[in-house]
Structures are given as C-alpha cells and as structure tokens.
Amino acid sequence: MNGVHDLGGTDGLGPVVVEENEPVWHAEWEKAGFGMFPFPFAAGWFNVDMFRYGIEQMHPAHYLLSPYYEHWAHTAEHYGIKAGAFDLEDLEKRTRHYLENPNEPLPDTKNPDLVAFADAAVKHGVSARRESDAQPRFKVGDRVRVRTDSPKDHTRCARYIRGKTGTVEMAHGTFVYPDSVGNGRGDDPQHVYTVRFDGTDLWGESAAEPNTTVYFDVWEPYIQPAES
C-alpha cells in the first residue's frame, strides 16, 4: 500500500535525533510491546509480513507520532481482533481499568514452555527461505527496471524505486513473497536479488548527492529487463 510507512526519500521530517547512552528500554511497557511480536506469532495470529502490514495500516498521523513499540502492540491488537481472540470493547474496558490502576499486577501464571520458546526463537530464528524449482530469470550484472505497480495491500516494493533502473548485484535464492504471504495468500516463494541504483537515477542529477548508491532487495516479480 502507498502508506506513510514507505518513507524512503520523504522530505521534511526533521533532523535525526541521537540519544546519548540510550538504554535498550525506555519504559517497562516497551518490554511487553516487544513481546507482541514473538508470542502472538507463535500463536499463529500473523507471520512476519502480516505483522508489518498491520503496522502499515495505522493512521498516518498515529504512525508518525507514536513511539516505536506502540506500533507492535497495534499490529497484535489488529490481528487479535481479526482472529476473534477478543474485541475492541474488551480491550478498551481493560485499558481504562489499568489507566485507573496502573500498579495492579498482571496474572502471575507460569509456563516454562513459553520461556523456552523465547530462548529458542532468539537462537534459531524463523527463516524466510523456501525451496523452489523456479529458475532465476535474472543474473548478476543484468540491467533491470522496477515495475510501477502500486498494490493497495502489503508489498516491499518501495515507491522510490518504482520505475527506476538498476543493476543486479547479488542473487540470494528463493524466499517467501511478501506480496502474497503478507496478505494471507501463502508463501509463493520467489527469487530475491539485490539491485544497485545510482543516486542520480533515483533523485535526478540536480538533487542527488555525489557518488552515492542505494542497494535495494527486490523479489523477482518486482523487476523486468531494462530493455523491455
């Protein structure tokens, strides 16, 4: 979707503000926000691409003005409601309760399997690689142009590379295809390539900074031979 999350090349967002000696967590709630990725994932509420798509559907003003881990809680909320695990009314009732009783402890249930899952998830990860018999249509060195399609749902084809021409620099093999798996339509594995774009081809001679290039990963359906 052509959402505000697709930030590459957007102007006017101000300086990059660097916090000295930044802690890993800025508030206790951030830890639970961070947990909104692995645990609902394990419960089958979403895959990684759907997780991103839930964030992308936040209202643009909310997206830009909210702290990072609120995005994670938002997407878990989005899919939890979709899965019928709870409804918004229940969540808001509980929210009002905890707003009035911020120090009330959460239920202290124990489940060693969930702790073990946390350790295993960190150690092994979740690979997005998938076997496929499909032969790659492109090879390193090929000149390619990015298609100009603007899907209304999840994609990783950022707007700033659409229609641009670049050179294939690496071929990585086959991975789940976000435009399918992120929209709940199955893995549909596709070849992934790294494409190199010259800054001048992205931003024009007058606006590009000298001697800069951008390397962007594309799935095969995003690109076509540059000559066609």
């Binding site: 957007t10 702290p67 911020p102 489940n111 700033y160 900074e209």
Partner: protein, 208 residues
C-alpha cells in the same frame, strides 16, 4: 446525529500519552496471558536476552576476528551467516546475514526505509533514531548530509557511499576498516574499539 458525531475521527484519540499507551499495552498483555499465549515471565526473558546477552558486543567480536584472521574475513564476506555461526552467533532477525566491507573507496551504511529491519544477532536491538522517520526517509536520499549533521562523520566525495536498504529478509551490516595504530593488538583489545555505530555505518571504530 450525523455520522461524525457517532464515529470519532480516526485520530481523535491519538497520539496517546505515555500512561495511555502503557495501560493499553498492559490490557492487551492481560488478554494474551489469560489466553495462555504469554506470561510476564516469558516477556521478561525475551526482553532480558536483548538487554544482557545479545548486543553489539557480539558483532564487535566478529569484526575483531575478521581484522586479525584473513581466512575468516574471506569467509565472512562470502557468507556472513555461516561465518557468524562458526562463532555461535545467529538466529532471530539474522537468519540470512550479508556483511559489507568498508574500504578506502567505499563506505557502507544500513537503513530500513519500510520498517526497521536490523541484524539483531550481531548488533542487538536498534537504537530509536534508526527506527524513526527522519533517519529512514533521509538516509537513502541525502546520506552525506545525514552522516555529517547527525553523526559528525565526513565521508569525502571521492569515497562512494553505499546505502543498504534492508527491504528483504537479508540482514546487512558493516565491516568497518581497522583503525591505524592497532598493529599487534589482540582480538579482545580490537573488539573494544568496535562500536555499534561503526557496524551500522554511521561512525568509525574508536582509535586506540
């Protein structure tokens, strides 16, 4: 009543205060706990791993080894995932890692314009600025300006800046150049010079 009176605008209740966010996350957490999908103990464990165990010290160890062992460095550039696995490093958000090397003519820097992809196994969780709209929007368009203004890093125009936009599940990170005056230093001493920022590409390693 008109529609606008019955259904509030989608932005009527945002942005939320810190207290409102904390309460809403806690409410959601309480639901997940009741459903048996989460426990506070498991959340704390997951958070603690990135607070105390997985962080940029791991990437620094990899860099120091690459600086002192040319064969390892060749393997690291060839297949970052496999070379890191030799040191027991890998896993979540680094299932497929590519290490890109800075040279006298190339300076690399990473970004994720679409979300906040970052190589957790070697760098830990990203700092806030990496996830914020300003960095994500500007790094692909004006890397020289961002590096100079926000990170005090001047890269001469004669050096190509390569910006790696982490749009797929490949996780890129930077092998910085070994600082001058470090001949004879041990791997451990060298690792102490390697900063997180130097592996993102917004800084250089410390000088001895």
């Amino acid at each position: 009543m008109t529609k606008s009176e019955t259904s509030p605008s989608p932005t009527a209740t945002v942005p939320r205060s810190e207290a409102e966010i904390a309460a809403r996350v806690k409410a959601l957490e309480s639901i997940l706990i009741e459903k048996g999908l989460m426990t506070t103990e498991a959340v704390d464990r997951f958070a603690e791993i990135y607070e105390n165990e997985v962080g940029p010290q791991l990437g620094a160890g990899v860099v120091a080894k690459a600086w002192t062992d040319p064969d390892f460095k060749a393997r690291l550039i060839e297949d970052g995932t496999k070379a890191c696995a030799e040191m027991g490093i890998g896993g979540l958000q680094g299932e497929d890692m590519v290490v890109v090397e800075n040279t006298d003519t190339v300076h690399n820097v990473i970004v994720c314009t679409l979300c906040s992809c970052y190589p957790w196994p070697t760098l830990g969780l990203p700092p806030n600025w990496y996830k914020q709209p300003a960095y994500r929007s500007r790094m692909v368009r004006e890397p020289r300006t961002v590096l100079r203004e926000s990170f005090d890093l001047d890269v001469p125009d004669s050096v190509e800046i390569r910006v790696w936009d982490s749009s797929s599940e490949m996780r890129y990170w930077v092998l910085p150049q070994r600082p001058a005056g470090t001949d004879g230093m041990s791997e451990k001493e060298l690792a102490a010079l390697v900063t997180r920022d130097s592996m993102i590409g917004v800084g250089r390693p410390k000088s001895p």
